[in-house]
Symmetry: C2
Subunit: 399 residues, 2 copies
């Protein structure tokens, strides 16, 4: 590594550390419901709660994030952080999971009364990773038991029988393979079982299933990643079949690259980088205004998603992780250049130097369109995960 | 009326007539599924079908629009138009309504296989108005019988028991009063029964129910119209309770004004104009870029709807109807000025001089963000209804 690169990496590291402190401080200060437990996630620009609904994806994700930082970063290894993580975990177990059917609610009131259930499995996925990481943080077996039980339930839903999820079976809507459900199982198995060979073995078929399902999203002679394909791995007709979500493909890319490294699969490494990172990034980057577009249509038509040309925080977080990981794995300057391209846009547009916390939603032009720091789909997760992972990779590179 | 105003109204009339021709031509040419019946609604800028899914709100609305034009405008009173309307009606009866429970699907495939059901009642509302207007166009009793049966079903769902709609009953989500469900019953009763005193009498309680539910949306000392309130007419906590949709309030305004005129209710006339049209219009108009914003938060916070600051075609269509009607009813120049303000923006931004049909979705800055002419929620309805109604009102004013 030449001196210029070293200096550059050092400056990224410093900024990641200071941003993680600021973001952590914002959420520690503003999001805790001291009275009822759990987390407020609808936080305005200055941290004020503008809606007390508890979004359950984000309850689980916040527990996971606190535990991850507690378990890995010495300065966050404090009783205070462990305690809020545990309180969050207890709220999840008491109010978010319905013990009758293992479904988790999508939203509950501040006191835990259920508001809404989704027929998807994401509340349950984030419940599972929260419990898995909380088990490591506390050393308490009950959380791991809870995580394993939920993983078994998830495996049953996706590999055996999903009728309990309540999707109506209509003749015009055959089952489909969505990237969201496919790729998440790669990371779920990793999160639950990376330090437990027996569990890793147990869930190997589920991981293989996730990998296989994920690969089916490479379409059109390896040129694009499509979000939804048929269960036999073909492109679906109409707008649904043409949807591309570059940030989501890039996130899948680093899930795969991490997997490839751990399992020593160089073939998968190259595919992860070229198919899931580079091509979606080059297609999704807005040449006019910068930033990664949210949705695209593979034929270049107008996506039907009204928000298609907005710039969201999380695809940029995923791209930072992905290109830094690609650089670490290959040493190729190109990936560090892509990292820089995303970094410059991200720091300039999403960071709020005044109040801390990151914005989540920008117009195509890069103007903040929603000034809140937390909302129904934005909690304490993508930003700290990105900063935490980049810190780890930068430290490794600088060694 | 002075000469300048007359000239102005004549020019509006001329443009409305030519635009109606162009829009009509676009949909007649591009949207008919000759093979399977029903209508393709996903039409690209030049009319090419980009998705064959049949969105059922739009199937019903297109039948209604064709019949309305057939029944009221001599040049559209042709066998060709009657026949496509009938074919659309037959598709609705055969594929869209589930005779087992009277629920209508939200989407079906091009051949009529069901894809999706909503737990709301809008597919059924548009089914009903399609049948009601088709009965007038054809003189065939079976369509009216069908319309009345669906209206009875709708009345049962909203006034007696909605469990069959399938909303889960969760302790944290009490029933709410949404403006969408409230206001639609004012127009549904009008559409079904304006020429049938007996039916009008029969559904008077339903109409009263709709009126009463609608009035509960006037909140904060008559300053705002909120989209969702509690069933006892109070503001709900959080973002949901603060949502304002100016175009929707304005649409409600003309529903109410039309009702007030027909029932000779001058008190309601003034309230319709001041509360439902003028205040939402002045709040919703984008002072920076022009056009009516899609969603606002009553406290001035960022709406959580990502598309909140986009400019959609339909609020502009509703505002044109509303302010021309207010002008016709009061003769006050102010309302004609508001009409002009909306008109100038609308004609400049939504009309496609090249291919015909109107765009539906613009960015805050007024740039076309989706170039298609039809999509999952945009069919042949708001634009022809607006032009048809404006033509009628302009002709009346010019008499």
């Amino acid at each position: 590594m030449n001196e210029a690169t070293r200096k550059q990496l050092e400056s990224y590291l410093e900024k990641c550390e200071s941003e993680l402190d600021r973001v952590m401080n914002f959420w520690l200060t503003n999001s805790h419901d001291e009275k009822n437990g759990g987390f407020f996630v609808c936080l305005g620009r200055d941290g004020k709660v503008y809606d007390e609904t508890k979004y359950c994806w984000l309850q689980g994700r916040q527990v996971w994030s606190y535990c991850k930082l507690y378990n890995n970063i010495p300065k966050y290894h404090t009783d205070a952080i462990l305690n809020v993580a545990k309180r969050g975990g207890e709220f999840l177990m008491k109010y978010v999971k319905n013990p009758e059917n293992n479904k988790c609610f999508f939203t509950v009131t501040k006191t835990g009364d259920p508001i809404k259930i989704q027929r998807s499995i994401f509340s349950e996925c984030f419940y599972m990773i929260a419990m898995a990481e909380l088990a490591r943080a506390t050393g308490e077996a009950k959380y791991k038991t809870e995580a394993v039980a939920m993983m078994d339930q998830l495996q049953h839903w996706v590999m055996v029988d999903d009728t309990a999820l309540g999707h109506p079976r209509l003749s015009g809507s055959p089952a489909v393979n969505t990237l969201a459900v496919a790729m998440i199982f790669i990371i779920l198995v990793e999160e639950l079982a990376w330090d437990d060979a027996e569990l890793r073995e147990k869930y190997a078929p589920l991981e293989e299933w996730g990998l296989k399902q994920t690969m089916q999203h490479i379409q059109r002679n390896d040129e694009v990643i499509l979000e939804v394909v048929s269960t036999d791995g073909n492109e679906l007709p109409g707008s649904q079949g043409r949807v591309m979500n570059p940030g989501h493909a890039i996130e899948t890319g680093w899930f795969l690259l991490q997997y490839a490294k751990k399992r020593n699969r160089p073939d998968l490494r190259d595919l992860a980088i070229s198919q899931f990172m580079v091509k979606p990034f080059l297609t999704g980057w807005d040449k006019e205004n910068g930033g990664i577009l949210y949705f695209l249509d593979a034929d270049g038509l107008s996506p039907t998603q009204l928000e298609w040309n907005m710039k969201l925080w999380w695809p940029h977080c995923e791209a930072l992780i992905a290109f830094l990981m690609a650089y670490r794995e290959t040493g190729e300057q190109q990936y560090l250049d892509y990292f820089k391209q995303v970094w410059d846009y991200t720091i300039k547009h999403f960071v709020d130097p005044e109040h801390g916390g990151w914005y989540g939603y920008l117009s195509k032009q890069g103007v903040v369109s929603q000034d809140f720091k937390g909302g129904p789909f934005k909690g304490f997760f993508h930003v700290p995960r990105c900063l935490f992972m980049c810190i780890g990779m930068l430290q490794e590179l600088l060694k």
